[in-house]
Amino acid sequence: MNSIAVKDLEKTYAGALTPSLRGLSCTFAEGTIAGLLGPNGAGKTTTISILCGLVEATGGSAEIFGMPQVPANREAIKRAIGVVPQRIALFPQLTAFENLRYFGNLYGFSGKPLREKIMQHLEAFGLEKAAHKETGKFSGGMKRRANIIASILHEPRLLVLDEPTAGVDVQSRSMILQFLRDYNAKGNSVIYTSHLLDEAEQICNEVAIIDEGTLVVQGTPKELVGRHGHCRNLEDVFLHYTGHAVRD
């Protein structure tokens, strides 16, 4: 089964002159760590937003674990996925524990089981000593780690991460990447967007490069690098397909 499958996906935002997605089609198999890569404005965030049900597509279809993204499936899809936004989607005036307790409560967890779950995750991410510190006072890496915990409290089958390592130090980055490998090893799927192509090359089983709202190429990093003799790594492949022109 595929973790996600999008077909001929189109999206034009109200008032926009050009479409954000122009018939994007791609699939990722369940149980992989997949990279959705592309320059700025390629349509990565729009694709993820449509998959999560935050934005409605203008055309085409999107499925998660075989469930079409339609209002009738929205609750089931929400239970199946965890989304780690690029921004730190936590309340800075609340402590890490209070934030996680709140989001845990929204997922329907409460009491001792929730407290234990929160403390386990905080320990796993090296945040147990900062549990009762306001997240606004966290370092960048600590915020990123807490941001991930808030999205996995319900143990989703598919974890979608938007630039999860942007602006973090080497240690935090290493911890986050290891967590993704471990999470995947439990049979869960991960979809991950990043501009750090060496990182994507390191952890992704499969990548899809998209540009201007369409799929440019898809395959394993090794396969893509091997296709072009002049490409030494995924970054060379990326530049080969998307060009050197600066994107805004």
Binding site: E56, K78, P85, F91, L94, L106, G108, H154
Partner: protein, 430 residues
């Protein structure tokens, strides 16, 4: 239910740690109400409890001068000043003091004023006696060329209503003196004709029909509205409750900007339950705010020399109105927080719109004294519905059925704003 309780707890923690937000919601309204009640106390008292010093120059030394002095003193609204430093007041000195603004008014009773009234009464009695075939024996002065007048000097800054009240009072005193003297002259004429009439002359009732005032409130004076506390405490409490728009809208826009709104929407379950928790929390805050302001009216303002706030007889009705105002204010905050994209836009629009709604809604000055066209516009302001309902309870001792129309208007308005916010949010997804 867990989602609602969790949201209430989250909002409480956020508010507790937001010192500026707490000050905006609780400390500033307390200061505002105290200051407004104090500074508006004098204008409210102008025609009620404050005694004005009034200069009286009595050049007549007769009954008219005495009646005017005693009448003004007994009215309870004036202190009659007829001497300065032990010296009788002259007209020139009185005029000068009024011109300098030291006093608002001076009254000069001219010399011979009472004699002129007596002579006029004598003339009337003589005329009647003559027509009845009786001898005309009361002395009458020769007609003078200059008619006598009680001279009034007003401070140019004195209000029109104040001048009018003084004119009316003095007219009454003059009429009373003229009537008294006329009756006396008639009695005198009749007694001189028949010595027996001294014992049998009936008392003349001057006022066959009297005025009687009955308050329509249950056991309370309806004119309690005239004091500053009774207007300002409820009015500015409602204003302060509506200022909850600022923290709510700011809170919602921050949640949208930092992505926590997206996170909440991605969690299974209806987002409406999160909004319900938010709504309940802020309505609760509004109610706490309202009763804190009421406590100011009950305990703090009397300590500062102002009257105590009167709460009517039905406290449940008061609570329901406060909760309804809270629902409307919170819904307005949610709508603004949904429509506007940046905190600056939302906060500026929110603050200015509340000031406008409060100005037209009778918060600053009672709606009744506005021009009719403004009154019609003002009746559309939710703040005026809230204030009307509170006045119905506090001043007219109204019960729940009395304020149900206003409560319904507030809740329908709040519901409409929540629906509008939902529509805007739904369009955003598309």
């Amino acid at each position: 239910m867990l989602r609602i309780i969790a949201t209430i707890r989250k909002e409480w923690l956020l508010l507790r740690r937001d010192k500026a937000g707490l000050a905006l919601l609780f400390a500033m309204p307390l200061v505002l109400i105290t200051v407004m009640a104090l500074i508006q106390d004098a204008p409210f008292r102008d025609y009620q409890e404050v005694k004005f010093d009034i200069l009286a120059v009595d050049n007549d030394h007769g009954r008219l001068g005495r009646y005017i002095r005693e009448g003004l003193q007994e009215s309870g609204q004036f202190n009659v000043v007829d001497s300065i430093n032990g010296q009788p007041l002259s007209e020139a000195a009185a005029k000068s003091m009024v011109a300098k603004g030291k006093y608002k008014i001076s009254i000069t009773v001219p010399k011979g004023a009472t004699a002129e009234i007596v002579s006029n009464a004598n003339k009337i009695v003589n005329d009647i006696s003559k027509r009845m075939g009786l001898p005309s024996q009361l002395p009458v002065k020769a007609l003078s060329n200059d008619s006598l007048a009680v001279q009034l000097y007003f401070d140019p800054a004195a209000k029109k209503a104040f001048k009018s009240a003084i004119h009316q009072a003095l007219d009454n005193f003059l009429t009373q003196v003229e009537t008294d003297l006329l009756l006396e002259r008639i009695q005198l004429q009749l007694r001189s004709r028949d010595s027996l009439s001294q014992d049998t002359f009936p008392a003349i009732r001057l006022k066959a029909v009297a005025l009687r005032e009955t308050s329509l409130g249950e056991g309370k004076q309806i004119d309690v509205i005239s004091n500053s506390v009774q207007h300002n405490v409820p009015a500015w409490s409602i204003f302060a409750m509506f200022f909850i728009v600022i923290p709510i809208a700011g809170n919602m826009i921050r949640e949208r900007e930092d992505g926590s709104l997206v996170r909440m929407k991605l969690i299974p379950g209806n987002y409406l339950s999160v909004l319900t928790g938010k709504l309940l929390f802020f309505v609760g805050i509004c109610i706490v705010q309202f009763y804190l302001m009421i406590m100011v009216g009950l305990y703090l303002l009397p300590m500062l020399g102002l009257p105590e706030l009167q709460l009517g007889v039905n406290h449940v009705a008061g609570f329901l109105v406060a909760a309804s105002i809270g629902v409307t204010a919170t819904a307005y905050g949610i709508l603004i927080g949904t429509i506007f994209k940046t905190p600056n836009q939302a906060l500026n629009f929110g603050a200015v719109s509340i000031v406008i709604l409060s100005a037209i809604g009778g918060i600053w000055i009672p709606l009744e004294i506005m021009p009719e066209s403004m009154q019609m516009i003002g009746r559309l302001s939710p703040l005026s519905w809230g204030l009307d309902a509170i006045n119905d309870i506090y001043l007219r001792n109204g019960h729940i059925p009395y304020v149900l129309p206003d409560i319904a208007k507030l809740l329908i308005c709040g519901g409409a704003m929540l629906v509008a916010a939902a529509v805007v949010e739904q369009r955003r997804i598309g």
